[in-house]
Symmetry: C2
Subunit: 340 residues, 2 copies
């Protein structure tokens, strides 16, 4: 059962635990500073498949299967798969669900989808509707780039504020039972759609920063927690420019997060200047959460994080029709020592 | 709190009620046999907007606003908006959420989205996470046709098995409290993704029929109910051909639903031969449920329906890449005399 603690935030009274996670990633991610934290990596973007779309689907299936295997579970044990991706009609998730045969809730929150799936999954498990639920997302540079921007063959140069769609997938298995040695989902703050009039589709960080700031501030206000309560406030994929902007907006509102804010988009390619402002895509925050961050919690090096996945909800059609870029951010509080 | 009664089915122990609904529809729907059941209708596909996409967004916003007004609620009273549509990146729902300012869960289940939103909304409300949640979807002939099939200007003839995307939207407000004079959400059966190898994108009914049959049969088996328990088993948009196929599959499995099965896609344009096999789209089942069926329950002419929205989870890209069409169906049991 849940308890509302504010306009946007609920507490999970039974605190579902994250029983296992898995992350799958491509070559650029493998050779980055967090390469060793992914369970499965591969070298070329096709991963032995005929199309990039099939390679993306394979990542998502492998991530879910690996997370299930770590938990000793089979598809029949999982009541619901909650997932999505960036592709039109979320075909990666839909076809993955076809192969796995798990009752399926398709989600679309763009790059915020991993947090969306964890929030809804935790509500389902906490509400007594499932013992186990799988939450998963994926993105792939080659499928996203040609769908959202330009044909790959064009070799379009990138602008300084651009981010690189991460080729990766992350999956987490939520469970209604488990002791305090597992990370627990304790609070969820669901974002509103925020649009500050940004219309540069190569500057997603700027579009998402106000949404991230609003959701984080709402979370802190509604839970009565200070930013320093968390080892890290982990945003999804604001990138370097968007992170600066988010920290400035938060600072102007009286919240200083400079000491403990991290951004998955900044981290995943850190040191690689070809990636400009960093990584983006559903798979960015999903693979960093389901790899590095959950691993660190399980190893005891960090105890509490606020996971804030951020997404833009425009489409190529809406951009061509002159619309600005609406954004959303969802925050999930993950804590050790709380599972029931 | 929920109770699992089977592999795919849960019971809502507190049985959230449908406090209010509203439906908005275009001209072809207005002039059909259920035209008088829609709250708002309009004559031309643009509805005073510059683009069809803006007209679709306006439908969705008007449906949600009308449902809220009927319940005497404002956006701030609603904890979550759960919604989606057929457009790439579900821009109708995303931009509607921007305007309404309600914390937003974006969903994609193609034409099954209305049932998906009701299931997740009911879990959220039943689990104590919200007092009120809004569930809404939309579709528009002109936006869907050019995205999924051909440019409108081409005037492509339709095949005999084709269905017409319905220009309509439906919205429902779920509430945690309400007496037994309101329709209550009592059970939800969540579908798996089923693919029988159909690859004709002009024959969606055939692709969805096996998924609908499986979900309905699972629902009846897991709840121990007979098909005749319901006044109507209402599928979303199988159309005439898909309905026949579904009834035959069910009959072969020992379930006779010929007496009480209805299909929203068959009903909405009944008598209009230009519409071939009938209507389809998220807005088809949403507007028929939120108009005719809920009205009939509130008026006492029917007491129990199983609402089974059906969707196909392919994309133009997956079809061009030679994939067959995966389908899904979700069933929600709606009953009078159960609200708490």
């Amino acid at each position: 059962m849940g308890t509302r603690v504010g306009q946007k935030t609920v507490r999970f009274d039974k605190m579902p635990i994250i029983l296992s996670t898995a992350a799958v990633a491509g070559n650029a991610e493998k050779t980055g500073p967090y390469g060793s934290t992914f369970d499965i990596v591969f070298d070329d973007d096709l991963w032995g498949e005929k199309t990039y779309e099939l390679a993306e689907r394979k990542m998502l299936i492998k991530a879910i299967e690996t997370a299930m295997a770590k938990a000793g579970l089979k598809p029949d044990d999982i009541s619901y798969l909650l997932g999505g991706d960036l592709l039109n009609q979320i075909i990666s998730a839909g076809f993955a669900a076809r192969q796995l045969g798990i009752p399926f809730f398709g989600l679309y929150g763009a790059c915020s989808t991993m947090a969306e799936s964890l929030m809804l999954g935790a509500m389902i498990v906490d509400g007594g509707f499932a013992k186990y639920a799988a939450c998963a997302t994926s993105s792939h540079f080659a499928t996203a780039e040609r769908q959202f921007r330009n044909p790959l063959e064009l070799g379009t140069p990138k602008t300084p504020t651009s981010q690189n769609t991460v080729t990766a997938s992350g999956a987490a298995i939520l469970s209604s039972t488990g002791d305090s040695t597992y990370p627990a989902v304790t609070y969820a703050t669901t974002g509103r759609v925020i649009d500050m009039g940004i219309n540069d589709v190569n500057n997603m960080g700027a579009a998402m920063a106000p949404a991230a700031a609003e959701t984080i501030i709402s979370h802190l206000e509604e839970t009565g927690r200070k930013a320093g309560f968390y080892d890290h406030i982990v945003t999804g994929d604001l990138g370097t420019f968007g992170s600066e902007l988010m920290l400035r907006i938060a600072s102007d509102a009286g919240y200083d997060m400079t000491a403990n804010h991290l951004d998955c988009g900044v981290l995943i390619y850190q040191g690689n200047e070809l990636m400009h402002c960093g990584g983006s895509g559903c798979g960015c925050s999903a693979s960093m959460l389901c790899g590095h961050f959950i691993n660190s919690m399980n190893q005891g090096t960090i105890k509490r994080i606020l996971f804030v996945a951020t997404g833009v909800l425009h489409s190529p059609t809406s951009a061509l029709q002159g619309e600005s870029i609406p954004a959303i951010a969802h925050a999930v509080s993950l804590e050790m020592g709380c599972g029931s």
